[in-house]
């Protein structure tokens, strides 16, 4: 570049540019790789390895012994046959479905109502909205212990309050009746899930332009009509995210159930997650626990795929 004598500058510049473009590109590619490789390795180590290991484990007789001897004989699908032929499996499946549907419907309806409510600005609305996040901030083990005390049949504050208000004559056996316990556990899980729903739905509501409501109001769309024809359609993308993530989070709930009922009374609150936990960490049949958690992973995966599809459609829209 320094020898600028007789030759036209462009003639020299052209090849020079291509080589520098080439090397820049190569360097860029390298930089890209440097960015991707650590992330890919972390993904492989932290997500790929456990999943593969879990699948392999579910095909092995992997128990207490394995940790000391390193032996885990291959048993094919025996673990899957064992867990699926157990009478508790169908019960756990039904409970998981009820728990998930009940929790999601409750969280979503209440979350949506609160989000719409907080769209209106009023004194202390910010503070109240912040307080709503509280269930999210508490350690799960602490909130389940608190709820266990609240739901206690004889001296729990909920029954005392309901009786004091004259709403019930005899205490409700929240956690001690097989027909009520699942409802109680769902109630607590709804309470825990509300902040997540409110936060996402509220931020979605912020993106709906005020003009739409003003225009709608001119055409007579107020109240319910406005909600149905303006809010919901504009919120579709957020709603699908909230619902699908909610399902995936709810399927794997374990600590709340263990804290409240430990799967009882009489297995009334056993879900796939509690069963998987029990087989792995109480019976030390890690192979069977892995088989159950794989069933759970497949169910979650179905919803994750739904989420990805819906999300892609939302972007294309």
């Amino acid at each position: 570049m320094t020898q600028t004598s007789t030759v036209a500058p462009t003639e020299i510049l052209v090849p020079d540019v291509t080589t520098s473009v080439d090397s820049t590109r190569r360097r860029e590619r390298l930089a890209q790789l440097m960015f991707i490789v650590p992330a890919a390795l972390v993904l492989l180590a932290l997500f790929g390895y456990p999943i593969v290991k879990n699948v392999v484990m579910s095909l092995q007789a992997y128990d207490l012994r394995t940790f000391f001897t390193g032996e885990a004989p291959f048993v094919g699908l025996a673990n899957y046959v064992e867990v699926m032929s157990s009478r508790l499996f169908s019960r756990a499946m039904v409970n998981t479905a009820l728990f998930t549907v009940g929790s999601i419907v409750g969280q979503f309806v209440i979350g949506m109502a609160l989000a719409v409510f907080f769209r209106k600005k009023f004194p202390l609305s910010g503070t109240l909205r912040a307080l709503l996040l509280l269930p999210w901030l508490l350690p799960m083990i602490a909130s389940s212990a608190a709820w266990r005390a609240i739901l206690e049949q004889d001296s729990g504050i909920l029954n005392k309050t309901l009786r004091g208000m004259g709403l019930i004559d005899s205490p409700i056996p929240w956690l001690t009746s097989p027909s009520v316990a699942l409802v109680a556990v769902i109630m607590v899980n709804i309470w825990i899930g509300i902040p997540f729903n409110v936060t996402l739905l509220y931020s979605g509501l912020q993106d709906i332009p005020e003009e739409l409501y003003e225009a709608g109001a001119l055409d007579g769309a107020t109240g319910w009509k406005a909600f149905w024809h303006i809010t919901l359609p504009n919120l579709r993308a957020v709603v699908s995210v909230v619902l699908v993530l909610g399902v995936v989070y709810t399927l794997k709930v374990l600590d709340i159930i263990l804290g409240l009922t430990h799967g009882g009374p009489a297995n009334a609150t056993q879900t796939l997650a509690t069963q998987s936990y029990e087989r792995s960490f109480v019976d030390f049949e890690f192979g069977q626990g892995a088989a159950l958690s794989n069933v759970l992973i497949v169910i979650s995966l179905v919803f994750a795929l739904v989420y990805l599809r819906v999300n892609r459609r939302a972007i294309e829209d």
């Binding site: 440097m34 207490l64 940790f67 001897t69 004889d154 056996p173 009489a266 109480v282």
Partner: protein
């Protein structure tokens, strides 16, 4: 440059993490090496137990001229800690194991037989030796044990003019009479964990029931007692969800006149000087029956670490923890019963509040005594059946058959 460094560091740390998994293996110890430190793992993480156990450990460490590195984990984490240590070949030199789990861990080949080091259980109560032995070999020694008995509020019983029940008929009757709008007659734990099964064993065993035949009429009769106590309103239906800690809380709050619990609750009860209580042995169903309750307590074991000299010293350390002096010290301070039977008369005289427990320990049984490593299956069937009966989903006679099917 910074960017590249970041990537390189990330790569290096992954490589390091992977390499770390395989570290600490190999390098055999000279069998005659001088051992200066012993590593210890246990679950006495609550006070005052943590300090009291430390005192015993220190005494033995001084005696053997070693220093200790002790790790204490919460009770629920001990097994996963042991498994984690086992898979990375970093088991401690001395390891505490809850007695019903000793056989399982020994069967996995993790523990050294104490007999190899000349440590025996001569003069120990047979029940606990049963729990810590497998195929005739001794794998652990528990200096002290405990069990559960009937604890009662002396003021409430005096007020109702009732003597501590000695038979099940008296128990039903007393529990009924002691029930008022303010409190229940009795509290126990029948929750959906091994704890619920453990609390049921006094009734089941005393009545001649056995874990090898859960469908026997004797077992059903024991479950009938639990069902009656709840159905006649003498015990809250919340027993389905209570831990033994909850049961103690109910008792302390004056919401139960009697409870089934163990001496490890003494320090908690003593915090309430206004609460007047005493202990009676668990009642029998029919006169002539022997009160048989389950043995609780932890054993000290020597894991196979591949360090022969350390294992030898560790075995001496376990023997020291089980010497008559140490047993008495642990028993006195931690409210438990020594396992050397010749110490029992002296102990009962010295600590009168432990009299009922001491008496029961003489005939107490180990949970894994008969079924060995398949005890957990029976325990699961037991708490499932108890829950079925107490929720009226099954009759006591049918419950064990139904539990077996699920």
């Amino acid at each position: 440059m910074e960017r590249r460094l970041l990537g390189a560091t990330a790569l290096a740390s992954v490589a390091l993490a992977l390499a770390g998994c395989g570290a600490d293996r190999g390098v055999a110890q000279d069998p005659n090496a001088r051992v200066t430190t012993l590593s210890i793992l246990d679950y006495y993480n609550n006070q005052p137990d943590k300090t009291l156990v430390q005192a015993g450990l220190d005494t033995c460490a001084t005696k053997l001229g070693v220093t200790l590195s002790r790790e204490v984990v919460p009770g629920a984490d001990l097994i996963s800690k042991i498994l984690q240590r086992a898979s990375s070949d970093t088991l401690p030199d001395v390891m505490m194991v809850d007695n019903p789990e000793v056989k399982q861990i020994a069967a996995a080949g993790a523990l050294a037989p104490l007999g190899d080091y000349g440590v025996t259980a001569d003069g120990f109560a047979p029940g606990i030796v049963d729990a810590t032995s497998l195929d005739g070999k001794l794998y652990g020694l528990a200096p002290v044990v405990n069990t559960i008995a009937l604890m009662y509020n002396t003021e409430m019983l005096a007020e109702a003019g009732i003597a501590p029940p000695t038979t099940w008929a008296e128990l039903r009757d007393a529990a009924k009479k002691l029930t008022t709008p303010d409190h229940y007659g009795i509290a126990f734990s029948a929750n959906a964990t091994y704890e619920g099964s453990w609390q049921f064993l006094p009734a089941m065993w005393t009545n001649g029931g056995d874990e090898t035949d859960l469908k026997s009429p004797q077992v059903a009769e024991a479950l009938q007692l639990w069902t009656d106590l709840v159905n006649q309103g003498s015990a809250s239906r919340s027993v389905l969800n209570w831990t033994q800690g909850d049961v103690k809380d109910q008792f302390v709050a004056g919401k139960a006149a009697m409870m089934l619990n163990g001496p490890w609750q003494f320090p908690a009860l003593d915090k309430f000087p206004d609460l007047k209580w005493s202990v009676a042995t668990f009642p029998v169903n029919r006169p002539g029956q022997t009160v048989t309750t389950p043995l609780g307590g932890e054993a000290w074991t020597v894991p196979i670490t591949g360090k022969p000299a350390s294992q030898r010293v560790a075995a001496q350390f376990v023997a020291c923890l089980n010497s008559p002096e140490q047993q008495m010290e642990f028993a006195r301070t931690r409210f438990a019963v020594p396992t050397r039977t010749d110490l029992l008369p002296q102990f009962a005289a010295e600590v009168p509040s432990m009299a009922a427990f001491t008496k029961q320990v003489a005939t107490a049984r180990a949970r894994t005594g008969k079924l060995s490593t398949s005890w957990p299956k029976a325990a699961t069937a037991m708490y499932t059946a108890i829950q079925l009966a107490l929720t009226d989903q099954s009759t006591p006679a049918e419950a064990f058959r139904q539990a077996d099917e699920s």
